[in-house]
């Protein structure tokens, strides 16, 4: 578990380092490895990435989640644009409760961020396994209907990746 966290943090940190530097040289590589190893040693005890799964299936699910996410982001912006431009403000807002099956903190973070960036929804609070969501155009205010409309499209992929 700790090994996995250390490995993922070092790989992510190195990618970050090369993105900032923009070139591959021996000096840059050595100093980057030293800095990233020190930084990873500080937070390895938290085991943040301990629940991420490594498998071809998880990778495919991650790509599928990315595709769904980008599509929803573009859709949500068209939705926002139409709402802003239309001469009369058409809104029907409500705060609804939805249930999630994800257990790990990282999975819940990814789910909450994806919900915030999809059409007309904004995560307001998380308590236990229920998320409270401000919905700009609420079609159903009960738990099952809202869960089906908001969470279902991301949960399948995220469950494979983060558990």
């Amino acid at each position: 578990m700790k090994m996995k966290t250390a490995l993922i943090s070092v790989v992510l940190g190195l990618l970050f380092w090369f993105g900032l530097n923009g070139r591959l040289e021996t000096g840059v590589l050595i100093s980057g490895i030293v800095v990233v190893a020190i930084a990873a040693a500080f937070h390895v005890k938290d085991a943040v990435f301990g629940d991420v799964k490594f498998s071809p299936r998880a990778f495919i699910a991650f790509i599928a989640w990315l595709v769904v996410f980008v599509g929803e982001l573009i859709k949500s912006n068209i939705d926002v644009m139409l709402r802003v431009i239309s001469p009369k403000v058409r809104i029907n807002p409500a705060i609804v409760e939805v249930k999630t099956k994800l257990k790990t903190p990282l999975g819940r973070l990814a789910l909450a961020n994806s919900i915030t960036l999809t059409p007309g929804t904004l995560t307001t609070d998380i308590k236990g396994d229920s998320l409270f969501i401000h919905w700009i155009d609420a079609s159903s205010t009960d738990v099952e209907g809202a869960t089906k409309a908001i969470v279902a499209k991301f949960e399948k992929q995220l469950e494979v990746v983060f558990g």
């Binding site: 900032l20 926002v80 961020n113 904004l122 205010t141």
Partner: protein
């Protein structure tokens, strides 16, 4: 290539303008947060992709910038919405339901 990048940057700035318009027009805080967060996130992504097309050697830093924005922007809007709810911010009259307030009342009522 340069033209495509410039046009993408223009589209991004138009999305920014729409988010500003939404910030003015929406009636209460929660709806303002919604328009502000979504539109600025997509606007930054499109504008950065446009600049990546113009300067391919900047791609690394611009990708890191996009990752920052996509990770931190929803979190900050979430924190603001939460703070608004617990400091008793009014919602607009058109609101049809509020599960979070009911939940808090249930918790206070049980003991």
């Amino acid at each position: 290539m340069e033209m495509t990048g410039a046009v993408l940057a223009l589209i991004g700035s138009i999305i920014f303008f729409l988010s500003a318009l939404g910030l003015i027009r929406m009636p209460d805080l929660y709806n303002r947060i919604q328009t502000g967060t979504k539109a600025t996130t997509l606007g930054t992504i499109i504008l950065s992709i446009g600049l990546c097309l113009i300067h391919p050697e900047w791609t690394g830093k611009l990708v890191i910038l996009i990752l920052f924005i996509v990770l931190t922007n929803p979190i900050s809007s979430h924190v603001v919405a939460r703070g608004a709810h617990y400091s008793g911010q009014e919602m607009t009259d058109k609101t049809v339901g509020d599960a979070l307030t009911e939940e808090d009342k249930d918790k206070e009522g049980t003991p």
